[in-house]
Amino acid sequence: MTLNSMQKNGLLLGLFALVSTGLVLGVEALTKEAIGEQQRAQTLASLNEIIPPTLHDNDLYHSCGLLSEPALSEQPVPVYRGYLAGEPSALAVEAVAPNGYSGKIRLLVAIKPSGEVLGVRTLQHQETPGLGDKIEKQKSDWITSFAGKRLRSQDDERWAVQRDGGMFDQFTGATITPRAVVGAVKSATWYLQQNSTQLFQTSLPNCHSALEGESHE
């Protein structure tokens, strides 16, 4: 009796599992392409916003390299290299501000080889809606205030929120979020400024395979 019940239940459950898993895998195979496309489009959209087409003529998305750099993030981050007529024209990197009000803030920072900041975008954050979420382009223009700025030295005092005596406005009511973003952009910019030549020259491991794998976690 026990054996019979075990056999029956085991086989049935196994059967259901196989069918379910098969279905899921099937759908995954079918949608794989579309999902990849979506992610590409998303990243590209952000990239194109801060590195306008006039500044590059290569395929930015496929110029991506994976960079392991503790100064930027604990994990390897993608670096995008823009060329205009074969000449290096722009450099974008994903930076992480670890000290946001509620968790990490993922940013995309782009500079010209000259060191001037092209632009910054927020890729992902969990800041308080209505307060900290003003770092989103859709909510506020604040994030665009980085464009055109330069970093003079590693401890350039102007690179801070106004409250701390810097040149970046903090939005009303929140100090922590902008402070974190400014800090992260500052260190990313510094890194890019220091290593721009090198970054254009070294070959980096391709990032797409790894990135897509990540998105399925």
């Binding site: 239940n9 049935l12 259901f16 759908v27 209505g130």
Partner: protein, 229 residues
């Protein structure tokens, strides 16, 4: 009253999964900061619920008591994963907003509850209607709560509907008023709890009023324990 009519009434009002059974509160409270999000998760839940109810109802004869729950969970998980993949592929923006909540549908008690309480005991067509109505009821509460919170916290309705419904939906956006200082509480999770509490209170109030109005004089025939023997 026909079974279908009963199911409709049960799902939408009398036994509403969110308001009466208080099931599936986790996604409900987390994603209802705006109507768009609420609608998105509501629809996702609706599809999963119909799908799982039909499937469970179809296989109910073959599933023995002991492995019922694992099988149901597997069925639901399959549907959820498929929907997640589809959303990822075709409504990417919305997927980014709702992303982390979609897998939660797997353990949404409203769904497994219906599979267990209804679909596993009834024919597939009834189960489908039950799923539809329960799903609609759930989605309706989501949308109402989302609307409430969006209006209070943002002064708008259907903000970002284009993420879900395509470009044309941009016209849906209604700006009721512009808030200098949004009521942050409404958007934050505590606001969801408070809003939910008020919606349930209003429902109970309506029910109480209706019960008063429709107090029909039904008489129950008394059973005689000691019929003449």
């Amino acid at each position: 009253m026909s079974e279908f009519k009963t199911l409709t009434k049960q799902g939408l009002w009398e036994n509403n999964p969110a308001l009466v059974q208080l099931l599936g509160l986790c996604p409900l409270l987390a994603v209802t900061a705006s109507v768009t999000n609420a609608l998105g998760l509501g629809l996702a839940t609706l599809f999963v619920l119909i799908g799982s109810n039909i499937t469970v109802s179809l296989v109910r004869q073959w599933v023995p008591q002991e492995i019922r729950i694992p099988v149901f969970v597997m069925v639901i998980a399959t549907f959820v994963t498929i929907i997640q993949l589809l959303m990822n592929a075709y409504v990417y923006q919305l997927y980014q907003t709702l992303g982390i909540f979609i897998p939660l549908i797997v353990t949404n008690c409203a769904i497994i509850g219906r599979a267990e309480a209804y679909a596993s005991k009834n024919k597939w067509n009834y189960a489908a209607v039950d799923g539809l109505m329960m799903g609609l009821g759930f989605a309706a509460v989501l949308v109402v709560l989302g609307g409430l919170r969006e209006v209070l916290g943002n002064g708008t309705l259907f903000d970002g509907a284009e993420l879900l419904l395509g470009e044309w939906a941009k016209q849906l956006r209604i700006e009721l008023f512009s808030l200098d200082y949004p009521l942050l509480l409404a958007i934050l999770p505590p606001g969801a709890f408070i809003g939910m509490g008020f919606i349930i209170a209003i429902k109970n109030r309506i029910d109480a009023k209706r019960a008063q109005l429709h107090k029909t004089e039904k008489t129950v025939t008394r059973a005689r324990v000691t019929a003449e023997s």
